[in-house]
């Protein structure tokens, strides 16, 4: 990788809180600018775009539809199938086309993150396909993908208990921050960077994704989850506004 500009500057002799200054000037609990849009793929039964700053995810939902091959069908419930991938040019070092180990892992955890919000019992033998593609990547792609997919599922009219909201919290040296960028993910000073992806059902304390890269003190885990949960409320509002906007347009 090429040389990085100085991502974060230590501010010495400052108050204990926020010894780390974020390069984009955000507060520790401030999300990047969110963009949420419904209906970006007219062919799909439901679709949405969700962006955290420069990270842009699009999701399309097809189904419920009959699952083939037949032996994969489940007569007691519908099945959720998620596919996540990066578009080749969405990252600096071009990603080879086709599924990678990374994309397979993220597809699976995204599926697990969305499933608790869905009620698929009324769709026996059927499948709901969720396709997530990252148009532009600047860290937090899986969380942006989950937010987009959750909106797309709602747009497709799939019975849901709740929307799923997701965000990557992080720890830069000793400071907890929300919604880390790629630049922050590569932070190396002090204790280094920790990336903590969270997904939860919006109106409950049910978490459906907790993934961590890096190190963190056990007592800080609760704090980081609380920080993530607070941000999920903002994400939920953004998702709701986008979903409501298409209803209002068709009402007029």
């Amino acid at each position: 990788m090429a040389k990085k500009p100085i991502a974060l500057i230590f501010q010495e002799n400052q108050e204990e809180h926020m010894a780390v200054k974020r390069s984009d000037g955000r507060k520790y609990n401030e999300l990047r600018k969110m963009t949420a849009k419904i209906g970006v793929v007219p062919n799909a039964d439901g679709s949405a775009l969700f962006a955290f700053g420069d990270t842009i995810a699009i999701a399309a939902v097809y189904g419920p539809r009959k699952l083939h091959p037949q032996h994969m069908q489940n007569p007691s419930t519908g099945i959720l199938r998620v596919n996540y991938d990066l578009l080749s040019f969405s990252v600096y070092d071009r990603k080879r086309p086709g599924p990678s180990r990374r994309s397979q892992e993220i597809s699976k955890v995204t599926e697990w993150a969305l499933l608790p919000a869905l009620d698929l019992e009324s769709f026996p033998n059927e499948v709901i396909d969720v396709q997530i593609y990252i148009l532009q990547a600047d860290a937090g792609t899986r969380t942006a993908g989950i937010n987009a997919a959750s909106m797309a599922l709602a747009h497709a009219g799939i019975p849901m208990k709740d929307l799923v909201c997701s965000v990557a919290a992080g720890k830069l040296d000793k400071e907890l921050v929300i919604d880390v960028t790629k630049e922050e993910e590569d932070f190396e000073k002090g204790e280094g960077a920790t990336d903590f992806a969270i997904a939860k059902l919006a109106n409950s304390d049910e978490f459906s994704l907790l993934q961590m890269d890096g190190k963190i003190q056990p007592e800080k885990v609760k704090e980081i989850i609380k920080l993530g949960s607070e941000s999920c409320k903002e994400i939920y509002e953004t998702q709701k506004i986008a979903l409501k906007s298409i209803v209002e347009v068709s009402d007029e």
């Binding site: 990085k4 793929v41 062919n43 596919n83 086709g98 532009q136």
Partner: protein, 223 residues
């Protein structure tokens, strides 16, 4: 339902309407839908573009890499066009190994760009036989409502025209910094494809998905 095939009845109706010079969306037989073009839609690519024709949407991105030239052209840069029919874009596209259509699309775009001589590949050489630029164009449909090939072609061309070289530090690419240098593109040559389709005795341009299903591709035309 979006996944429904067009019926024989639709085919007969189309045939009749075409013979009268009419189309479902009241266009003329050789009239295109409105085309919307945006560029720089993905910042991490060296160049990118989005083309929307009616409800068809295609995104193309250009990445530049340093590599070795092919043995049979040591004094030329490399060009690669790839792409996939994402299952995102249509209920008809499936995951897995690419089918014929997924292979055909980037192939046609590749030939239009390569054979037209739009890019002067000989100007992409850093050290003859050793180090050249490789241009990789990736094309992805976001929504397929017919005429993907022409949309893909425009997207690839616009992305190329909007491509800037990244900075090179000590022989390595620094993708984070783009220079103001553009690709060595011809001023005169711009390959644009027009795909003509045939049904009965009628020839039409820019079919929607429904129409395309029932017509036959004649040949892609270049200028």
């Amino acid at each position: 339902m979006s996944s429904m095939e067009t019926t024989n009845l639709t085919k007969r109706t189309l045939e009749r309407m075409f013979s009268e010079g009419k189309r479902f969306d009241s266009r003329g037989l050789l009239e295109l839908r409105d085309i919307k073009i945006e560029y720089n839609v993905s910042k991490k690519a060296e160049g990118s573009a989005r083309v929307i024709i009616g409800k068809t949407e295609v995104i193309a991105g250009v990445k530049l890499q340093l590599g070795e030239p092919y043995p049979d052209s040591p004094d030329k840069g490399n060009l690669m066009v790839s792409g996939d029919l994402l299952p995102l874009a249509s209920p008809r596209f499936e995951s897995g190994p690419p089918g014929f259509n997924a292979v055909e699309l980037p192939r046609l775009v590749d030939r239009a760009i390569r054979e037209s001589g739009m890019i002067d590949l000989s100007k992409l050489v850093l050290e003859k036989g050793e180090k050249v630029w490789t241009i990789i164009i990736d094309i992805y449909p976001i929504n397929d409502d017919g005429n993907l090939i022409d949309a893909a072609n425009i997207a690839a061309i616009v992305a190329l025209k909007n491509t800037f070289f990244p900075e090179i530090i000590e022989g390595k690419i620094n993708y984070e910094k783009k220079t103001s240098k553009k690709l060595p593109l011809s001023e005169e040559i711009t390959p644009i494809s027009f795909s003509f389709f045939k049904l009965g005795d009628s020839i039409i341009l820019d079919p929607t998905r429904e129409t395309k299903k029932r017509t036959k591709l004649l040949f892609p035309q270049k200028i």
